[in-house]
Symmetry: C2
Subunit: 211 residues, 2 copies
Amino acid sequence: MPDGPPKKPSRIQQRNRHLILDAALDVFSAHGYRGATLDQIAEAAGLSKPNILYYFSGKEEIHVTLLNQLMETWLDPLVEMDAMGDPMTELLAYVHRKLDMARDLPRESRLFAGEILQGAPRMHPHLVSDLKPLFDEKCAVIQGWVEEGKLAPVDPHHLIFSIWSTTQHYADFDAQVQVLSSDDPLEGARRYIDTLFRRMLSIPTSTSQTQ
Amino acid sequence: MPDGPPKKPSRIQQRNRHLILDAALDVFSAHGYRGATLDQIAEAAGLSKPNILYYFSGKEEIHVTLLNQLMETWLDPLVEMDAMGDPMTELLAYVHRKLDMARDLPRESRLFAGEILQGAPRMHPHLVSDLKPLFDEKCAVIQGWVEEGKLAPVDPHHLIFSIWSTTQHYADFDAQVQVLSSDDPLEGARRYIDTLFRRMLSIPTSTSQTQ
DNA sequence: CCACTTTTTGACCAATTGGTAAAGACACGA
DNA sequence: TCGTGTCTTTACCAATTGGTCAAAAAGTGG
């Protein structure tokens, strides 16, 4: 059963789909799935509502499309962590890449957070098929580093959880961070988080540690 | 202009208001403010929709009531951190109290997270009037501990942010944590987070540290 | 048992919202 | 210029949803 000619998308299609997805990212990340309306997305995109539905079959397809695109971007920093590199260097570089993402892609971070917060109704399959294998693989890498004595003893699973949570916090809880910070928090965050994981993962130099 | 007799709430009023708020906490934390419907809340509470509106003037009042109640509970662990106690003990006890809350009150954690994620539209005043002063006060306490040499040098603001994010992560991102964990993650989390902040805050024993 | 207050319900409404149908505007190659 | 397929809009639903209202039903004190 042939699929028919795939038909490359026209210039206009590319432009409008991109317009819609960008507008939808704004709206979904600000109000959540249920809180977002097609009218809001249409207005933000500068198109009419039926026109939106000419490019996407419905609200859900827009949301799913965003989530799919996001997954790739989201996993990339972890993918880049190299088992062959220096453990401390690789892990700290990963932390900094995640912090860069919280700074540069806060809408994406909030979209992801909102989806997970509500039980990942649309993303659960992706978590199992894409995230889980990568997560397991990188946990094994870290475990290897620990066993080689290149890192202080640490549970890789929770280490990664804490990297995610501390970095994404600055995007997801921005409203709170803004209230509590006088100057731009991101610079301080960078120094603090670097120190946090450096102290967590450093092998004690010498002397006996208490207990 | 007298306020009239305050009229203590009847037994029935207390019971039904409590039923409604508990049901609303379920629904709001699972679907967010916009995603929740009065019908869902009514069904979860075992009451009819008009009956709900007999006890609360509208959807928003229910939400605001929950948020107000929550604020007290939420700040309590931080309030209990005692400037007179031993710094490391106090901070680690605070971390463990926060982790207890993520375990025992996940609905509350998600309600709070959802509100902040969407820019704290209803809670912003509370953040400024309640959270900010407490936060500043406790930051000063921690700063004092650092200056006394009782803790390793650390930015108190980001330290608290990282305590919040690492602990609440287990409630807010539970859907993700569940996918990635084989056994119950909370026990491992407790050990990991304890170690994380212990290493972060410990004064180096002796010897020179590299760099 | 009776008056009186509190609680509960069924019927209803206006606004919002996701989505459709069909006609019209537009682009573009022959 | 014309015709054909692409894109856009206008007008319109049906369902959902927050909320109202008046009347019925339960409590409650005397």
